[in-house]
Amino acid sequence: MSSRRRLATALGGLAFAASALAAELPSADRRSGYDFMSRETRAMQDDDTANPAMLWVLEGGALWTRKAGAAGRACADCHGDARATMKGVAARHPSFDPARGRPVNLEQRINACRTDRQGAPPLAYESRELLALAAYVARQSRGQPIEVAIDPRTQPFLEAGRATYHRRQGQLNLACSQCHDANWGRQLAGNVIPQAHPSGYPLYRLEWQGLGSLQRRLRNCLVGIRAEPYEYGAPELVQLELYLMWRARGMTFEAPAVRP
């Protein structure tokens, strides 16, 4: 490669890096995935008696008061009435866990409570019980603004998440930002590309015929660009979650949502 070509490539790379950063969405342009859905799917989310995710919320409400583990304690024994104590909690996750020295998402927080306080085994990722509890907790934050705490402890994880979001990966060599920042609102096959704001997780996805977490969605996207997906609970996924929630800061939390 001649030095001139090498320079041109380097400049091209710089130009792309600059455009990727400049393309970060201005807050006035941000739209929830809800705004890209059909009228019928919106109606399904808006009506609690038509929203299938409410079946998980119902189940989570029962699990909230059920005693579990060696300590013989239920969630409600410490946290009381979830409608008051869990208000806004899901909209603040992932949040920093001093004991683990890193941010944890809502599912990991529930499991930490199970192992540390209830003396119960952690629930498997995407298991019905964990999704039900997460949906029940998340339901209490509906209508609250998304607000993850960014401080010196979480800043490095936010930057790592941002780097993952802007890094090209997989056989298709795509970065998250190339679809969700640069081409949102346009079509990818038959679907509209949303802006990737995680405002309603865990949510009921019609394609899944069930409830799923944000990590399930992220792994889906990674498979879509033919990258090897990170394992459930991997720090990389939590960092990405943290970045996405920060990116959606101030937007209304709408869990449990419905998506096509």
């Binding site: 079946l55 119902l58 189940e59 015929q209 069930g210």
Partner: protein, 106 residues
């Protein structure tokens, strides 16, 4: 764990047409899918849904494999008298769920 969500207006006027919404948790496995090893996943669906109003059947539906998971069934009836609406879902593998809701007709 089988759970159902039912929405019936709690207070209605006599002779009014009321809308009843039901949502039940069920996988509705079609019986046509296979595992990665090629083994057929046996069918597991809800076959029948009935609603009785003070003992009289007012709505019945037969369900088939093409119906999606967590069936959402909406129908209407005429409010004739106060009492109870009973809902009953039955299906494969001995699936049977009953739930009832009170209705007050003024």
């Amino acid at each position: 764990m089988a759970s159902a969500l039912i929405n019936v207006p709690p207070r209605v006027k006599r002779g009014e047409i009321i809308e009843i919404k039901t949502l039940i948790s069920h996988t509705m496995e079609t019986g046509f899918r296979r595992t990665q090893l090629g083994a057929l996943i046996p069918r597991d669906i809800i076959r029948r849904f009935t609603c009785t109003y003070n003992g009289t059947e007012v709505f019945r539906a037969e369900l088939h494999p093409a119906i999606s998971a967590n069936p959402f069934i909406v129908f209407s009836t005429i409010a004739v008298e106060s009492g109870t609406l009973e809902f009953h879902w039955t299906g494969d593998n001995g699936f049977s769920v009953s739930q009832s809701t009170a209705i007050l007709v003024e």
